[in-house]
Symmetry: C2
């Protein structure tokens, strides 16, 4: 088994367009022997956002803390801690933080997708 | 896309051996169109525990809140909110709560495993 404190994993910083104020970490991936799907964690700082994009693969998201908005079909939908989000492949999406606190979410992808 | 508040999903209660004080919910699964892996959430109440078992498939776990112990190789290892746990297939495991607060974890399995 492998146990990791997420905050001790060195993050990759995304702070230029198309993302701002974003830290990404691979928590469980190929390097850990996970062959079917990959768990990442993203922290979005105040005023930060993920890229607006779509891709072939799906996301399974759980919002660990904070609150923000999810771009879906041309609208910003409020989301918050304790919610799960399923984004099927080829659906355009973007998350942004709407508060002073970090917005932290777990986001899983299948193993044929880029890990980060 | 599908957005769900986890607490609004009707839980399955496990309160007889081999599990006690345990609620399980499927957050993102086959019924949602998720074909590669399944996200569940488990709440372990005070003094509760999951079954001690092993199986072919892996678990990818993220501890959302609380603190407890994970049985691993004959020992109880402390675990807490903010930690990720990878349990490869065929490794015996069990979680138990060690506090007065619920121990809440996200646990993902590949799509060839039972969803709950």
């Amino acid at each position: 088994m492998i146990i990791k404190n997420y905050s001790k994993v060195i993050p990759t910083i995304f702070d230029d367009e198309p993302a701002k104020g974003l830290k990404g970490r691979i928590l469980i991936g190929n390097a850990d022997g996970a062959k079917n799907f990959c768990m990442r964690i993203f922290e979005i700082n105040k005023n930060g956002y993920t890229p607006r994009h779509s891709h072939d693969w799906e996301h399974e998201v759980f919002i660990h803390s904070g609150s923000g908005y999810l771009y879906e079909n041309g609208e910003w939908v409020p989301v918050k801690s304790g919610q799960a989000v399923f984004i099927p492949g080829n659906e355009e999406h973007q998350f942004k933080n709407s508060s002073d606190e970090p917005f932290i979410m777990i986001c899983l992808v299948p193993s044929n997708a880029p890990e980060l």
